[in-house]
């Protein structure tokens, strides 16, 4: 870059430093909006700015996508959550390996559709396969869940974990004693081997929430399964109550959810009830506030 270019850049930077807080970039506001439902901070100016920013984003994230950039990565993560809801089990868990290519296009005024070629990893058997997927993020006043379709992923989904799943199922069907004592993983990343299938189950159940909550402005992973408790088996389905901590990379928040779900080898995971817990302010633990 020539000297003139450097001077221009320095000049630009100098100008920015004199900006005041009312020119907060819309992306900051939209992050805030998606991260915490009870935002009270938005001013009319910021709301207007959000619309502007989304228009800019539309232009940028349409057409062929750079596979290592965030739009394709976030959409691909949604595919991971979808695969786990449909095919995940205590012995089958899917991870995103790589995005090979991606494409995005607007669909009238109803939302944006992504087409992705990704490689997916079944973590427990350490198998990889290439898949194609479509993710549709609906746009609207009410936040709706994305819709996912996956194709050419059949080999991965045929992975046989039946004997392990059946053994676990039989073990706990009549022996309703599961109640985790430690978080999964614990602070040191450790998981008791006997608890590992329930960690997987917690992730699979969480995937329903992560799938529902995902937008183009989120990137969810399970931060930790705080606890899982087994309840009475119902209709031949193992039934569980669990408390999970999710991590949204974009807002850096840790949303907490409680869930009621069932599982059997034949039925897969079915979520019966979910409830988001309020954002915990650590001041609530301080004696002086009460």
């Amino acid at each position: 870059m020539g000297l003139r270019g450097v001077i221009v850049l320095v000049g630009l930077m100098g100008t920015t430093w004199s900006f005041n807080a009312t020119t907060i970039r819309p992306e900051a506001v939209s992050t805030d909006t998606f991260a915490r439902p009870e935002t009270t901070e938005e001013t009319t100016e910021q709301k207007g700015a959000v619309a502007e920013e989304e228009a800019v984003e539309d232009v940028m994230a349409t057409g062929e996508l750079n596979p290592s950039h965030y739009p394709a990565q976030r959409a691909a993560k949604v595919v991971q959550h979808y695969l786990n809801t449909r095919y995940g089990s205590p012995y089958k868990l899917f991870g995103l390996k790589q995005v090979q290519s991606g494409n995005a296009e607007d669909v009238a005024d109803s939302g944006r559709k992504y087409q992705l070629d990704i490689s997916v990893h079944e973590i427990i058997s350490d198998t990889k396969e290439n898949c194609s997927a479509e993710v549709f993020f609906p746009r609207g006043v009410k936040q709706l869940s994305p819709q996912v379709q996956v194709s050419s992923c059949e080999e991965l989904l045929k992975i046989d974990a039946n004997s392990e799943e059946e053994a676990l199922y039989q073990q706990y069907k009549t022996n309703k004693t599961l109640r985790t004592e430690k978080r999964l993983p614990d602070s040191y990343g450790h998981i008791d081997p006997e608890m590992t299938p329930f960690w997987h189950l917690g992730i699979v159940a969480s995937s329903f929430i992560m799938l529902n909550e995902s937008t183009e402005n989120t990137l969810y992973n399970v931060a930790q399964v705080a606890n899982i408790t087994q309840l009475t088996t119902e209709n031949d389905q193992l039934k569980f109550d669990c408390h999970v901590l999710l991590h949204d990379m974009v807002s850096q928040e840790i949303p907490q959810w409680k869930m009621l779900f069932t599982w059997s080898p034949a039925g897969g995971v079915k979520v019966l009830h979910t409830e988001q817990l309020p954002h915990v302010h650590d001041c609530e633990k301080h004696p002086k506030t009460n």
């Binding site: 630009l12 602070s187 990343g189 450790h190 991590h247 001041c283």
Partner: protein, 360 residues
């Protein structure tokens, strides 16, 4: 009689053995996570074990009045030295980062005695390494299992009823413009103003008062397996963007060669999200040419609670990546004159050859 002699002999051997044992073989486990008091003791021990090379430097205070310290590592010379900055643990829950800083220190202290390249680098440059910058936050994340995922520092908010500023949004680099929240409850709360936080002030003052010396500034985080280059604000491109990308790709390649892990290289707005007020951006604005954010393992499976059996491989690959950047910075500065002269000579010869060919 003989047994008494035997016992005394054994005792003598043991004593001699203990004296000649290098203290850094005295069981500090670099592949376990350590609480703050152990890290502080380790820093003091490093200085004791390598008094000619390592100095503990106190350079600030946290909100809760704890001393922020770094290890200054370098061989003493008369010449003016350049500098490398590395900080770990700006975000409390990213435990693998402080683990890496400690590992990095161990590695360079082992390497320089036998590796000429490292010896040269420690002769020409001082390494300033802060194992834990956000000490209050780190200690809080060790308190119990419910605090493990704390991110920010521990200063009380404006009304004293919510805690913590995201230190990596608090630096004076397009502060408060993008990828932040003005709400104290948010994990990306940027504070009441640029470098409102004592931890950020410590870095800004120490590095700022020596900024011409610094060749590179590396800030270590987790997770995501990324190497991020400035700037976090989508409207600004670093003047040496191409160089940063090239060096970054080289570092990612070096990382991949160790254990096959893929790290993505790019600006934050491209590969992660837009943000402002990061220490990396601030450092680049001080004209420190090579500034990188490392986001270590993993990709979300364990996230912040990376298993201890992954500490070693993560540190090994990150060390390789960091060294690539540091060696590049060093060679550009200290072999640069010779390389530039050689390049000019070749250019002249080529030009003469071409014009000669045209004339014929």
């Amino acid at each position: 009689m003989l047994s008494v002699v035997g016992l005394s002999f054994v005792a003598l051997l043991l004593t001699v053995g203990a004296l000649t044992l290098e203290s850094d073989r005295a069981e500090y486990d670099y592949f376990k996570y350590h609480p703050m008091d152990e890290i502080s003791s380790w820093m003091v021990q490093m200085e004791k074990d390598h008094p000619d090379v390592v100095t503990v430097v106190d350079y600030g205070r946290t909100y809760e009045k704890r001393t922020i310290s770094l290890l200054k590592i370098g061989l003493k010379t008369e010449a003016k030295k350049k500098a490398v900055w590395m900080d770990c643990g700006i975000h409390a829950r990213e435990w693998i980062a402080p683990a890496f800083c400690q590992y990095f220190v161990r590695q360079i202290l082992h390497a320089y005695k036998t590796d000429d390249k490292m010896a040269a680098m420690l002769t020409n440059m001082d390494f300033y390494i802060t194992p834990v910058l956000n000490i209050d936050g780190y200690i809080f994340s060790w308190k119990d299992s419910s605090t493990r995922l704390w991110r920010k520092n521990r200063s009380p908010g404006p009304s004293g009823d919510c805690y913590g500023v995201d230190l990596n949004r608090n630096f004076d680099a397009n502060w408060g413009t993008v990828g932040v929240s003005s709400n104290c409850s948010s994990n990306i709360y940027c504070g009441t103003g640029p470098i409102s936080e004592p931890e950020a002030q410590a870095v800004a003052y120490f590095v700022g008062s020596r900024k011409e010396d610094f060749l590179c500034f590396l800030t270590i985080h987790s997770y995501g397996q990324l190497l991020l280059i400035p700037y976090g604000h989508p409207n600004f491109t670093a003047s040496n963007y191409d160089e940063l990308m090239t060096v970054g790709q080289g570092a990612a390649e070096a990382i991949w060669r160790v254990h096959g892990k893929k790290y993505t290289v790019g600006t934050s707005p491209d590969v992660l999200y837009a943000n402002s007020g990061s220490s990396r951006d601030w450092a680049r604005m001080q004209e420190i040419p090579l500034t990188f954010t490392f986001e270590l393992r993993d990709n979300g499976t364990y996230g912040f609670e990376l298993p201890e059996d992954q500490i070693r491989p993560t540190c090994e690959e990150a060390y390789s990546g960091a060294l690539h950047i540091i060696a590049y910075a060093h060679d550009k500065t200290f072999n640069g004159a010779a390389a530039a002269a050689a390049a000019t000579l070749w250019a002249v010869l080529l030009a003469a050859g071409v014009s000669g060919a045209n004339l014929m």
